[in-house]
Symmetry: C2
Subunit: 567 residues, 2 copies
């Protein structure tokens, strides 16, 4: 057998055993931190492409943690077979983890121009200057043997949202990315319905599709209507107007500028991310008729009815512009009775308390609040059930795989897909390795998944001790005792007792009681045998913890360390 023949045989057998698989590691069964993998080839030599690499944000349940991402361990271990990371669009839950995880992947990146601008800024901030970031035009095709990936323009709440038509020898998968149907998106083209229909006509094996609004009836609504309603709302106002919105929604930014112009007001941009997004948008040819801005330091000199602020902080983020305005600590903007704040945004679940607290602060200043509850001044960027239905009618896939949502969303989406008579529907949470072809689609494996927490500068696994320890201390406090003993095991100094976060009755310091308990243990144990002080530490620990519980009703984390002078 010549080596050529061997290669041919190897190639044929590779082809014979080749499978097309899908594997979500993040975003399927949870909100945010999207990470999807497509594989093609035989099990032992499979090529992979990764779609998106996002983050989610920490909250009070993860104190000290701002950023959370999916653990890429599986693909990091196979990175020699990772052909590309394709970023569908520029939202944080799709690109936010790139600067933290790219060093473990070292693969080429692909993105359309606006997304690439945002990613490049992120990489620069982290000092990652040598990442191969390939800019793909809208509607472009990326050749990534054995994959060929065509970008299809959709609409969403950020410019340049792309669906991916991933073609392989075993069939075509449509990865929807985040999308909606909007006939008047204001920025960019409308949803490329023709491309989707053509794809459907040619035959789609599987769709991997956005489930965010699968529990919501009807349609998500249009940016065009939001614009008309916002202009109407601002037109009636006589005081200062503040509009808060997600910075990345460039159409909404354009709408704020439009409302300012229509109502004879000067536009003022507030917040770093607002300026960053506007710069990235203009770099890429959007917002070409954006008005001249008034600097926030000068805006205070304008009459109240001549100014419109557009600012970040609609989710109550404590460091954002709006939070500082609401708390009266902003250096340049003071609001007063007769002014209005318009929340052109939704409440992201989990942020209710922060947002309401912010609104209460504004109300305390006499400011009028307007939200989407009372006015149609916000639309979602994700497809509601009628939009999902249209997508399925266009594409007519053999297989439906809902992603991008909690399990309850995926399940609702799956039920809808079944109603629409999709032959195979899979709720495949993170870690599910699904064979799409050849043969009947089937779950063939489960891959370990997890979350990584950015804790300070260090990436922790969610199982690691530091966060658990912090949470324990946060609930019950901590008592740390250091005992200095001499060669005979007797206390050679007063115990050093550190009490952190344990309540006590005024005038009854806990440390005094704890010292007594320690003395008692030493008294009681003096005639017993113990070696190297080991059991003594545990005896003291238990006695101290028991005493604390008795006096406070809490069970603090208690650590006891023995320092021996016998050395």
């Amino acid at each position: 057998m010549t080596s050529d023949t061997a290669t041919q045989q190897g190639s044929r057998s590779a082809h014979e055993n080749a499978e097309l698989v899908f594997l979500p590691l993040g975003g399927a069964g949870e909100i945010g931190m999207n990470l999807n993998l497509y594989g093609y080839g035989p099990d032992h030599d499979r090529k992979w492409i990764m779609v998106d690499l996002g983050v989610t944000f920490g909250n009070e349940a993860t104190p000290g943690i701002d950023i959370i991402m999916a653990d890429p361990q599986f693909i990091a271990d196979n990175r020699e077979n990772l052909v590309a990371l394709i970023l569908t669009h520029g939202h944080e839950d799709h690109i936010g983890a790139v600067p933290y995880l790219w060093p473990e992947l070292e693969c080429p990146l692909y993105a359309t121009p606006f997304t690439a601008s945002l990613v490049r800024r992120k990489l620069d901030e982290e000092g990652l200057n040598d990442v191969p970031l390939n800019v793909v035009p809208l509607g472009g095709v990326i050749d990534l043997d054995p994959f060929s990936v065509e970008l299809i323009s959709l609409t969403h709440s950020i410019p340049e949202p792309n669906a991916l038509a991933i073609r392989t020898p075993a069939g075509t998968v449509l990865h929807s990315g985040d999308w909606k149907i909007d006939d008047e998106p204001l920025i960019g083209q409308t949803t490329d319905e023709k491309a989707l229909k053509d794809l459907g006509d040619a035959g789609v094996l599987a769709i991997v599709c956005d489930s965010t609004n699968a529990l919501s009836e009807g349609i998500s609504g249009s940016e065009g209507d939001v614009r008309r309603n916002l202009v109407d709302l601002v037109r009636d106002m006589t005081g200062r107007v503040v509009i808060t919105a997600f910075a990345s929604n460039v159409a909404r930014v354009a709408t704020a500028a439009h409302a300012a112009a229509e109502c004879d007001r000067h536009l003022v941009l507030m917040g770093r991310s607002m300026h960053r997004i506007v710069a990235a948008a203009r770099e890429n040819g959007y917002l070409s008729d954006f008005p001249n801005l008034v600097d926030e330091r000068d805006a205070g000199f304008l009459p109240p009815d001549k100014v419109l602020y557009l600012c970040t902080g609609s989710q109550g983020e404590p460091r954002a512009a709006l939070a500082r305005i609401a708390s009266g600590t902003h250096p340049h903007i003071v609001l007063e009775e007769g002014d209005a704040v318009i929340f052109s945004s939704r409440i992201i679940p989990g942020n209710e308390k922060s947002i309401f607290a912010l609104q209460n602060e504004l109300v305390a200043q006499g400011v009028q609040i307007h939200t989407e509850k009372d006015n149609d001044i916000h639309v979602s960027g994700h497809p509601c059930r009628d939009e999902l239905t249209r997508m399925y009618q266009w594409v007519r896939p053999e297989i439906s795989i809902p992603v991008h949502g909690e399990l309850r969303h995926l399940q609702a989406h799956a039920n809808l897909a079944k109603e629409l008579q999709v032959p195979n529907v899979f709720v495949a949470p993170n870690g599910t390795l699904l064979r799409l072809a050849p043969g009947a689609p089937e779950v063939i494996d489960h891959v370990p998944t997890g979350r990584l927490y950015l804790d300070g500068d260090i990436l922790l696994s969610s199982d690691d001790e530091p966060l658990k320890e912090r949470r324990r201390v946060a609930y019950s406090g901590l008592i740390s005792v250091v005992l200095v003993v001499d060669g005979e095991g007797r206390l050679a100094a007063e115990p050093a007792i550190e009490i952190v976060g344990v309540p006590s009755v005024p005038g009854e310091p806990l440390s005094v009681e704890i010292e007594e308990v320690i003395d008692q243990v030493f008294q009681r144990e003096r005639y017993r045998k113990f070696h190297k002080g080991h059991s003594m530490e545990e005896l003291v620990r238990r006695a101290v913890r028991q005493k604390a519980k008795e006096l406070t009703g809490k069970k603090p984390t208690t650590v006891v360390r023995l320092v021996s002078l016998d050395r």
Copy 2:
């Protein structure tokens, strides 16, 4: 001047200077922990009645704290003039703080029978057996010189909600308590519209009124409709049915029993508070036709279509029955594909994440979820704007004081009252001392207010250190160092280093680096002068913290203690 004349003059002058005042200490400008005070008399000798004494619940922002209440300091300092505590109804945000704060007040309690049953259970649990708890009939009058308080029955999401008509020589105040208008409340009478109209005809100086739904248009809806919709929903079901609702909503409990009977299912009650409420209701003559219950231990033997579970835990409370069912850890109930869980409840803001996590667990078991989002199976117990409007039309007060809500609710309520042409409207957050009569109503003082946290068994002020310390450690971790030094100030043993919740790179233990830093400080400082080790502790503390920041990006709480062998 005889002493009689003096008394007469004193009495007359007391009468001349007598003022009627209102002072909220809790619940005005925040959710929960209601505490309202009414005072009558001259400033130096004013008699007080307190209306309600509730709690709110801690969350992840207050780790280790389950229960929070308003600080009653002002009235505790004046308790010899506190005539009574009147409890309008039995919800936790109106009665929950009684067992914790009554010892600081020692005043008589007044409540209607059902509320009294709930309060008595609470007092018994805390071993408070000698609290004077007076049971007042519905519609009764309590004579509390100089006040006369008439109870007026309203409707709400618990039996026996009472408004209070507080009559004083200076005029009548209507304290609404929590209420709504429901023509079909199922339990208890409908709103006593006639009593309210009569009161309005006789003249009402001020109304102090529920603002919870002041941002919601229309009406809150009826328990009667909820019953019909729930029966319709359950009738179509073929698997096990679980309804989760607030236990205290006895009408809803009765509806679940009714739905079980209508659909030929056996009712199973789950959760301690569910059993407790049913017992209290039956004690007071409610639920007299309640069906025989099947014990939860036996229910598993019934066919799935013959059982209806009613259980606690609609807010995702981790220890409640539903959470244990959802996580598959309940000893008696297992759900499966084809079963349904009906959330006959709303989402209390702040609980979104817990509730959605619970729903995701249920979905993972193949269980179908039904919520108020898709079905009209819940109504609020508080008045929406049309109900508020009717109340104002009935009562026609001189003064409106919105309470029971965040500032944004109070403000919306105040704006509505102004539209309804109430002559005087006051948004008076906690601590505002408002003179209602004589003369034009006016804010005359601000009284210090605060929150008390039940931390273990100890009541902390929110300013106290323990919770702050725990929060700091929760964010950044802690390093505790104990240095044992000899008479010359030299290290007499290895430093004892305790690191809690600080991340580190695997294989690079922080303690080694910290030990090195400590050695460096001692090396550097050996020829310098320092006394009693004081400055040495601070020098080491700074160096250790700096090192930790450099290695981890975090700034842990760092404490250094020096133990001297020189004694």
